[in-house]
C-alpha cells in the first residue's frame, strides 16, 4: 500500500491562494456593480470591447470592462496557482482542486461572454452568478488546504455536537439563497415587494404580481439562513471549539449585516451602494460557512455513527 502523500506547508503558495480568494471576492463585488448599474450590455462585443483591448472607460463601459479586466486578473492568478500547485503539491486531491479552479474560472469567463452575446438571458446570468460562488468556494478550499492549520491538524476530538454536518447544511442553504437572489436580481424582481421589513404591509404579501413569489422566497430564505448559521454557532459552542466558534460568529455577524443590506436595498429603491454590497456580503457569508465546514471536518473527528446510535440506545459497544 502506498503511504499517504506528506503535505508540506508552503507559505508563499498559501498566501497566494488567500490573495486569489480575496481578489475573487472583490471580483464578485465588481460583478455586482455591473448588474446594479445596469451596465451588463454596455459593451456589446466579447471578448474584445468595442473591437479593442482597452475602450474608453466612460459610462457603463467603466463597470463592464472593469469587470472584464478584474476577471482576467483573477484568471491569471488562478492559472499561476494551478501551475504552482501542480508542480509543488504532493497531495493529488489538492492538485485536482487547483485544476478544478482553473476549469471553473475558464468556464466562468465563457459564461460571462455568453451573457453578453445572448443579451443577458436569465438562465445564463444566474449560472454566471452561481459559478462565481462555486469558484470562490474552490479557491477558499485551496487556501485552507494549504494552510498550516490544515496541514498540522490532528483531529483528536470527536464531533459529538455535529458541527460539521450543521456547517455543511448552512453552506448548502446559503448557496440556494444566493441562487434565489440571483434569479430575483436577473428577472428584475428586486422591488417586487416594495417595503421592508413587512411585505406589502403584511407578513405574507398577496402574490398578485410576477416576481413577488421569488422575492418573498428570498426573504424567507434569509430567515432560514439565519437559523442555519445560529445552529452552527450553538453546536460549535457546545463542542468547545474556539476556532469554529469564531468562524460561526463571523458568519452570524455577516448574516445580520446582510439582512440589513437587503432591507436597505429595498428601501433605497435598489441604490447602487447597498445593492452591490448585498451581493458581496452574500458571497462572504457563503465563504465563511464553507470555511466553517472545512474547519469542522478537519479539526473534529467524524462521529462514529454506530457508537452514537448505541449510546442513544444505552448499549455499550466494545471493539
Amino acid at each position: 500500500m502506498t503511504p499517504p502523500e506528506a503535505a508540506v506547508f508552503d507559505r508563499w503558495r498559501h498566501r497566494f491562494a488567500v490573495t486569489t480568494a480575496g481578489c475573487t471576492l472583490l471580483l464578485i463585488f465588481i460583478g455586482g456593480l455591473v448588474t446594479s448599474t445596469g451596465s451588463g450590455l454596455a459593451v456589446p462585443d466579447w471578448p474584445l470591447s468595442y473591437g479593442r483591448l482597452m475602450p474608453p472607460m466612460v459610462g457603463g463601459v467603466f463597470f463592464e470592462h472593469g469587470h472584464r479586466m478584474a476577471a482576467t486578473f483573477v484568471g491569471l492568478l488562478t492559472t499561476i496557482l494551478a501551475v504552482w500547485t501542480a508542480r509543488r503539491e504532493p497531495r493529488a486531491g489538492v492538485r485536482r482542486l487547483a485544476w478544478a479552479a482553473l476549469a471553473a474560472v475558464v468556464a466562468q469567463g465563457v459564461l460571462g461572454g455568453l451573457t453578453v452575446k445572448l443579451l443577458l438571458p436569465t438562465s445564463v446570468s444566474v449560472a454566471h452568478a452561481c459559478l462565481a460562488q462555486t469558484f470562490f468556494c474552490i479557491v477558499i478550499a485551496l487556501a485552507y488546504s494549504t494552510s498550516p492549520e490544515f496541514i498540522d491538524a490532528r483531529a483528536a476530538e470527536e464531533d459529538r455536537a455535529g458541527v460539521g454536518p450543521a456547517a455543511a447544511l448552512a453552506t448548502g442553504v446559503v448557496f440556494v439563497q444566493l441562487a434565489l437572489g440571483a434569479v430575483m436580481r436577473h428577472i428584475g424582481a428586486g422591488l417586487a415587494i416594495p417595503d421592508f421589513p413587512l411585505a406589502s404591509g403584511r407578513l405574507v404579501p398577496p402574490f398578485d404580481a410576477p416576481g413577488v413569489a421569488v422575492h418573498f422566497a428570498h426573504r424567507v430564505g434569509a430567515l432560514v439562513v439565519l437559523a442555519a448559521v445560529i445552529r452552527v454557532l450553538l453546536r460549535a459552542w457546545r463542542a468547545s471549539a474556539p476556532r469554529l466558534v469564531r468562524t460561526a460568529s463571523l458568519a452570524l455577524a455577516l448574516v445580520v449585516v446582510q439582512i440589513g443590506l437587503g432591507g436597505a436595498t429595498v428601501l433605497s429603491g435598489r441604490a447602487v451602494g447597498p445593492t452591490t454590497a448585498h451581493v458581496a456580503v452574500g458571497a462572504a457569508v457563503l465563504g465563511t460557512c464553507w470555511l466553517a465546514t472545512l474547519r469542522a471536518f478537519r479539526l473534529l473527528r467524524r462521529r462514529d455513527r454506530l457508537a452514537a446510535t448505541a449510546s442513544r440506545l444505552g448499549v455499550m459497544v466494545t471493539s
Binding site: A42, P55, V61, T122, A127
Partner: protein
C-alpha cells in the same frame, strides 16, 4: 422557460462551439423579408395579397394635456466627459412635453379598420441619430420591412440596444463618430424602448407599423395622417408615460376629419 432561455441552455450545452466570439464592430445589415414587389406583406395576407386600396382622406387633430407637468429631471452626465462638454449648461429630461396645452411626442396610429392588403414599406430608411448624447428623434417610426439607419454623430462611443418583445432584440456598438448601421424589423410592434447602456439617460422609442398611417405629434400637439381610404377606423394615441387613448372615427374620401385626444396628468 422563454425561447431565449431555452436557446441559452442549448448554447450552454455546446459551449465550445458557441463561443465564436467575434470581437470588433461590424456593420451588420439584415435584409428585409422577401415580399412581392419588394414590399412586405401586410399581416394576415400572404405574399400574393392584393395591394391595399389607395385613399385621399385625412385625419388631423391635436392632443392636449391637462394637469401638473412633472418637473424636468437633471441628468448626471459626469460618467462621460465628452457628453459634459456637449452640454456645458447641463441636460434635463422631460418626458411629458407640453406647449400651449399641446402634448408632443405622442404616437398616433390607425389601430383597426384598415382594408386588408399590402402596404408597401418605403425603401427610404428611417433614421435614428445619436447626437449630443441623445437620440434624435425621440419617437422613431417606420414600417415592417423598412430599413432603420442608426447613426453615431457623437465623438464618443454608444451602444444601441432596442428592447422589443415581439421583434428580435439586438445590441450593437458604434465606438466612433460617423459610424452607421442598418437594421430591419420584421414584425409590427408599437412603442418599444431603445437605449444606450453606456449612457443610461439615453432612451427613445421605436414603433413598427404594418401600414403607413401613423404620425407623431409636433411640439404643439398637432398631428396629421394622410392618404387613408374612406372607412371606419379605430385611432389610438400612445404616449410613453401616459399610455394610450383610443377612439372610433369615420372618414370620407377627400375630407379631413378632426380627431382630438385629451390626456390628463
Amino acid at each position: 422557460m422563454s425561447t431565449r432561455n431555452r436557446f441559452a441552455v442549448l448554447v450552454l450545452a455546446a459551449v465550445a462551439t458557441t463561443v465564436a466570439c467575434g470581437g470588433g464592430e461590424k456593420e451588420e445589415t439584415k435584409a428585409p423579408p422577401p415580399a412581392a414587389g419588394g414590399a412586405p406583406a401586410a399581416p394576415g395576407a400572404g405574399a400574393a395579397a392584393p395591394a391595399a386600396p389607395a385613399g385621399n382622406a385625412t385625419i388631423s387633430g391635436k392632443i392636449t394635456f391637462t394637469g401638473t407637468v412633472p418637473p424636468a429631471e437633471k441628468v448626471k452626465l459626469s460618467a462621460d466627459p465628452k457628453c459634459v462638454e456637449m452640454h456645458k449648461e447641463g441636460m434635463e429630461k422631460q418626458p411629458i412635453k407640453v406647449k400651449d396645452g399641446g402634448l408632443a411626442d405622442v404616437y398616433v396610429y390607425v389601430k383597426g379598420g384598415l382594408p386588408p392588403g399590402n402596404y408597401p414599406a418605403p425603401a427610404e430608411p428611417a433614421v435614428i441619430d445619436q447626437k449630443g448624447c441623445n437620440y434624435t428623434p425621440h419617437i422613431v417610426t417606420l414600417q415592417v420591412g423598412q430599413p432603420l439607419k442608426i447613426k453615431n454623430d457623437d465623438d464618443t462611443l454608444h451602444n444601441i440596444h432596442p428592447r422589443p418583445t415581439i421583434n428580435e432584440e439586438f445590441n450593437i456598438g458604434q465606438p466612433r463618430k460617423g459610424m452607421e448601421s442598418t437594421r430591419t424589423f420584421t414584425k409590427k410592434e408599437i412603442m418599444f424602448p431603445v437605449g444606450c447602456d453606456v449612457h443610461p439617460w439615453m432612451r427613445a422609442y421605436i414603433s413598427v407599423a404594418d401600414n403607413p398611417f401613423y404620425a407623431v405629434t409636433k411640439e404643439d400637439g398637432t398631428f396629421e395622417i394622410k392618404g387613408l381610404p374612406a372607412g371606419d377606423y379605430e385611432i389610438e394615441a400612445y404616449h410613453e408615460k401616459l399610455k394610450t387613448m383610443s377612439q372610433k372615427v369615420s372618414v370620407k374620401s377627400g375630407e379631413t376629419t378632426k380627431v382630438d385626444f385629451a390626456f390628463k396628468g
